[in-house]
Symmetry: C2
Subunit: 374 residues, 2 copies
Amino acid sequence: MPTPQLAVIGGGQLARMMQQSAIGLGIDIRLLAEGPDVSAAQVVPDHLVGDYTDLDTLRAVVADAPVVTFDHEHVPPEHLRALQAEGHACRPGPDALLFAQDKGAMRSRLGELGAPCPRNAIITSPADLESFGLPAVVKTTRGGYDGKGVWVVRTDADADEAFASGRVLLAEELVDFRRELSALVARSPSGEIRSYPVVESRQADGVCAEVVAPAPDLDPALAAEARELAERIAAELDVTGILAVELFETTDGRLLVNELAMRPHNTGHWSIDGAVTSQFENHLRAVLDLPLGGTEARQPWTVMVNILGGTVSDLVAQRAVVLAAEPDVAVHLYGKSVKAGRKVGHVTAYGDDLDEVLARARRAGGLFTDGTPS
Amino acid sequence: MPTPQLAVIGGGQLARMMQQSAIGLGIDIRLLAEGPDVSAAQVVPDHLVGDYTDLDTLRAVVADAPVVTFDHEHVPPEHLRALQAEGHACRPGPDALLFAQDKGAMRSRLGELGAPCPRNAIITSPADLESFGLPAVVKTTRGGYDGKGVWVVRTDADADEAFASGRVLLAEELVDFRRELSALVARSPSGEIRSYPVVESRQADGVCAEVVAPAPDLDPALAAEARELAERIAAELDVTGILAVELFETTDGRLLVNELAMRPHNTGHWSIDGAVTSQFENHLRAVLDLPLGGTEARQPWTVMVNILGGTVSDLVAQRAVVLAAEPDVAVHLYGKSVKAGRKVGHVTAYGDDLDEVLARARRAGGLFTDGTPS
């Protein structure tokens, strides 16, 4: 096995898709996988199976790798500091990752930067929430994702589960928004930054269902503002690799930051087939401090539709049905078993006519989900 | 390890690039590699190391894989017949592969089909060659590639090495050609065929140096003739997977078949970044009898330049130099050590202006080869 150029912690689909780009760039990855059969372990020969919360396991994985990056944001920061002290470059580093791990820290820091955010406050009691005012969105500051750990609170009782969780809670104003946008940037340790076209992210039940690149009918001034905001956050927080800034476009035409992610992001999957350089390749180039590639779209419209586990249980068998119906849609399966609502793959279509592109992507996605075009 | 859907025999760069497409399609590959560190073994976890001329080794690799395909054309046909008899689908099969393995059989069969070929004859003695007439090209019928096993014979003495080889020899007329073209098709067992735009292949010392897609200034009638010819050969020879038909465009404007290859081919590497569906993805889709994807170019011009081993010995270190000079060129490294003239990677550029695209691709290729733009 060649000496790894990069250690990747976490064996989900993000690491799996990193490997596709790593193969082309000649990057030998060593992976820490949660289990022997997880998504990325299926495609990265040099992998260990172990627990990313265990420092000695992390040490074994990164042993002779000069740089470490991540499939997720859950590695304990103190372990990353230990790895840094032992000479490994963690990208992104623990000081940046904090703002993706802790929504309270994120809101506080973004506030200092003057980045537009929903009104927010840490709350520790129903009295705090009452003084914050209802309706509100209440979130655990740590560990939430895809709608988990998030409660829309219109009456006091709606917050019972949140307070019962025993977690630190953040209250945010319930934003009256037109749609959700996402601004992705890649940033390297030497400070090079490239931002992708701003996309529209459409959710179903708190989970990203489809992404349209670029966001249709977005005011060019607002698009530029979103890109500049994301670039500024990446620089101020010293992010290395991909930063995704999820945004609300409010009904009165403003941008508000919703969430940050410091890794390739679901709202950037369109770039694999739709951009000059995919977010996965630019993540790898960024964390290895290689010059970044072009982030422009290759055609007027690209649509990505997630395959969320539905009634189709055998995606491999269904592949033939999907490709027969939509031979030019790009299929990305994650090697995961199907569970209700689980992200098990995505499909991407592109072209000149948005309606046609959207129809093709939805048709393929629907056939993979419940066997009928959605 | 999941049960493999496909066994791939041979661990070179073609299998390596198949794996990039296999990851997206959710195809679990089992690989037979020539050594533990060969190009594809670095990126396919489920691999065995062994000798593809040994039937028991082949049996072990294909054990629970319903379909078998190839990185090269050198597996003994009798072994493939044995695997077929044991229930494995070999794609392409031994009856088709013969015409890629044996140039004498290829010429004879193409002659029967009325496919245009250089005048040719099997020769067994200098007297045979004399009666064939000089100048001529003399080739071993088996085992030659990249200019090896090929002699341009202008005087009797030029053929000494060929006759001394003890191999079966084929004499062909020395074709007066304007350039070399290549017509690639994908064909599935159920008979679906898709052909790629005809490309121009430019050689240096008998090795493909660069490919321009589509072939510039090619008469549309000749392009159509080349595609139809390749489709007809694929169907008549019952090829499954990719067939590459290398062609001469003669100075008097005719097409003549030069060589056949039954696997993804160097003249199709442009399709990874330049076509709707890459040759690697369509090869996989074809051999698994999945519907084929679009073969159209995504932009007016795509240029692929091979990285042939030169004075740059550390491609990984040189990557930063190349990407700084040409950030939008797609880099494909094969994980091979550099030896003089060895194919160790390729680069691809695309765009609207051929001169500009060619300049970018050559610059990146030159920087990877001898550290200076070529």
